[in-house]
């Protein structure tokens, strides 16, 4: 049976097709590759893709998902409760709406979230 297909909306930038069991970040990277994410002033933040580095922090504004373990250096228990997660560690269970968040380490340095393309 084909996996269920969802839509992930990245606020202000467009939408990506995502499949059940697929990391949300992987779906966003694919959409970026196809040029489907518009008005991205900067590169989609992609790091280790496995929950350790924290650069792909997002806030889930709406939708259902499941998640893998994520490094507490980057997502506190309170963050997780509030839907602040790493896009590489969540898997959609419905359509999702996400907003990019500033990574913890970048925020600590008082810098902006994303790197120039």
């Amino acid at each position: 049976m084909a996996p269920r297909r969802f839509q992930i909306t990245l606020q202000g930038h467009g939408a990506a097709s995502a499949y059940e069991g697929e990391r949300a970040l992987v779906a966003l990277e694919r959409a970026q590759g196809f040029g489907q994410l518009k008005n991205l002033p900067r590169r989609l933040p992609v790091g280790c893709r496995r929950g350790g580095c924290g650069v792909c922090r997002v806030r889930v504004l709406a939708g259902e998902y499941r998640s893998d373990l994520m490094s507490r250096s980057h997502v506190s228990a309170e963050d997780e409760e509030a839907g602040v997660v790493l896009a590489c560690c969540i898997y959609p269970r419905s359509d999702l709406s996400l907003r990019l968040e500033t990574p913890v380490a970048v925020k600590a340095r008082g810098e902006r979230a994303l790197q120039p393309v």
Partner: protein
Amino acid sequence: MAITGIMRPGFIQIRVLDVPAAVEFYTKRIGLHQVTEGPDGRVYLKSADEFDHHSIVLRRADQAGVDAAAFKCREDSDLDHYEKRVKDYGVAVDHVKAGEQPGIGRRIGFTIPSGHRIELYAHADQSDPKPRIHNPDVWELEPHGMAARRLDHSLLYGPDIEKNLDFFEKALDFRCAERVDMPDGLLAIWLTCGMKAHDIAFVKHAEPGKLHHVAFELENWNAVGHAADIITHYEISVDIGPTRHGITRGQTIYFFDPSGNRCEVFAGGYTYYPDLPTRTWDETQIGKGIFYYERQLNPAFLSVVS
């Protein structure tokens, strides 16, 4: 014997979020073997081409990263010698009893200016699998996965690497094989205690105590290609490569373990002798130094660490 004192990287203790996933990754994919699991849940791994008890320690934690990088010394008396040298330098030394890790003798430990814990030890039991020493075959146990032959080095990120350089040269007898100097100062150093182009390396970074990667040595460039095939087949998160470093000349691929700790498998690199001068790089050629074929840093090189 020309190499005395600190000989080589012995083991590194890595924090992982999910131990079973990490064990599967480091054994089936990197090609290591599990030696044992300790009573506290830490898992000890080695390459079949290594004699010593273990070279990788996996500790379950809620944050990824590195606990300690440990170097093996030639003699037990070296531990007393370096304890005095480190204390005389002005750095506090602590002691870890023999057996705190299975098969490993007493250790001394200290924290360097970049915020990393470094340990020294002189004794390790041998463990199986290991090479035979009488009429040995090229391998005793058939290589699997990426066929890593040994833990080779680590690259660590933190502040004050000028101080690290001075400390490693003056207190630990390391030499600087290569360095990158940017207009605003020292960016990176590759340090050796033996005949490899690097045994440990540091890059300047605001946050202390971070891990950039742990590296395993492979037999040759073909093995790096095979590792790349494994990375794709098993959907391992890849960072960059296969490519080559200008610095050290290693042929390499970077990828991430299931907790987001970066790993490297690489082949080649030049032989270092203690009389060789330090090779230096500047801002104009830094891209070629780090990734020789791309000739530019990828966005993750200076920003993605665990």
